[in-house]
């Protein structure tokens, strides 16, 4: 399965980005092949709707789970429609989040924060 982790840098050693729509990068990790794809997310939606644009991208990429810090109401609506599972990331590197995910230690991310919280 393919999971997405919002990340401040471009490798698994870099820290989790708390923001979803305005995350610097989104790392796509294939849990079987361990192949990592980097999505440069910063310039995606300069005029607004960043959460929706990033969520649409996750849908198009066939992601089944997303690990992030906070999610806005619009992105949440897209993920719910797409049945993509959201997990509450823990402070630390993308790698430590991935390990916690593999051990089923991450809790569900169900509550959303107000629009534009990540700006």
């Amino acid at each position: 399965m393919k999971i997405a982790i919002t990340c401040q840098g471009k490798s698994l050693e870099d820290a989790l980005d708390q923001r979803f729509g305005r995350a610097t990068n989104i790392l796509l990790v294939d849990t079987e092949t361990h192949f990592i794809d980097i999505i440069d997310n910063e310039a995606m939606a300069p005029s607004g709707g960043a959460g929706i644009a990033a969520a649409q991208r996750m849908v198009d990429q066939g992601v089944t789970a997303v690990i992030t810090g906070q999610i806005g109401p619009n992105a949440l609506r897209v993920f719910q429609a797409a049945d993509i599972h959201l997990y509450q990331g823990i402070p630390g590197s993308a790698k430590s989040n991935l390990e916690a995910f593999n051990k089923n230690q991450l809790s569900d991310l169900e509550r959303f924060v107000p629009s534009h919280s990540g700006q």
Binding site: G49, I52, A55, Q56, N74
Partner: protein, 285 residues
């Protein structure tokens, strides 16, 4: 004849200047284009308003006709449409009402619905026109556009701009023949004045400066105006008395003949500048 009053920085005195100008100019119109928080009528004191809804068009999808192709989501420049598992999700508050999604929809599944985003309130004699954006709406541009339809070409109209120099100020400035730039002698006032000057120059609108809360060291401000060839049309001194009267909804022009005269002179000067500019342009052509 349309005169915009803007400043860049908030709290410099746009409303003081624009309402005062409207009060001393016979048969003029005052337009409050600060649609997120219109407050000009506190000073204009009109009581009878007719309120008209401002409607915008947003897409609506007929699920029976939709094939889930995603063309609408691809064309939308504002991320107002997501297409998930063959279903279209619409985010109406992000929509900019361009209609592109309806044009590209091959099966014709998209129609447009009217949505109210606020009101335009017009006083009985049309001397005051104000826009009011609904709470939570992100863009007041359609309301500013609607306000302008109530401004009459044979009356002098003073448009009270929103703060800043963004889209809503640009929208207010469209079609104006003169811009009054209100500033204050502070670093923030000057910083934002520079941005406002860039904007009016780019839009090719002649402008002049009113210095509010004047006094103290104004050297830097005076130098900037000089360098930009911006006429300083008026100075309103820093005064605790004026500020406390303002807090009670009273303008200097309401109770003081000399202030009434000073704003009348300002108004006459602006109108003369607009006429001179128009004459210049016609001789150039």
């Amino acid at each position: 004849m349309k005169v915009a009053v803007l400043s860049g920085k908030g709290g410099t005195g746009k409303t003081t200047v624009s309402t005062s100008l409207a009060k001393v100019t016979p048969d003029s119109q005052y337009a409050d284009c600060d649609v997120e928080e219109p407050n000009g009528n506190i000073f204009m004191k009109q009581t009878r308003f007719e309120s008209k809804p401002v409607l915008v068009l947003v897409p609506d999808v007929d699920d029976d006709l939709c094939t889930g192709c995603g063309a609408c989501g691809d064309i939308c420049q504002f991320n107002a449409i997501a297409v998930v598992k063959g279903r279209v999700l619409i985010f109406p508050e992000l929509c900019h009402h361009c209609g592109a999604c309806r044009l590209v929809c091959q099966p014709g599944a998209i129609s447009e619905l009217e949505r109210s985003i606020g009101t335009v309130d017009v006083s009985a004699d049309r001397s005051v026109v104000q826009g009011c954006l609904n709470i939570g709406e992100p863009s007041g541009l359609p309301i500013i556009g609607a306000i302008q339809t109530y401004l009459e070409p044979n009356r002098v109209c003073f448009l009270d701009c929103p703060p800043g120099a963004g889209c809503s100020v640009v929208k207010t400035l469209e079609g104006c023949q003169f811009a009054v730039l209100v500033t204050e002698p502070t670093p923030f006032g000057l910083h934002d004045l520079k941005i406002a000057v860039q904007l009016v120059k780019q839009m090719n609108i002649p402008a002049g400066v009113v210095i509010n809360k004047a006094g103290g060291d104004q050297k830097e401000l005076a130098e900037f105006c000089d360098e930009q060839r911006l006429p300083v049309l008026m100075e309103i001194p820093f005064s605790r008395e004026l500020a406390s009267a303002y807090a009670e909804g009273i303008l200097p022009v309401d109770h003081d003949d000399s202030w009434h005269q000073a704003f009348k002179t300002l108004s006459d000067q602006i109108i003369a500048r607009i006429n001179a500019h128009a004459a210049d342009r016609s001789t150039q052509q």
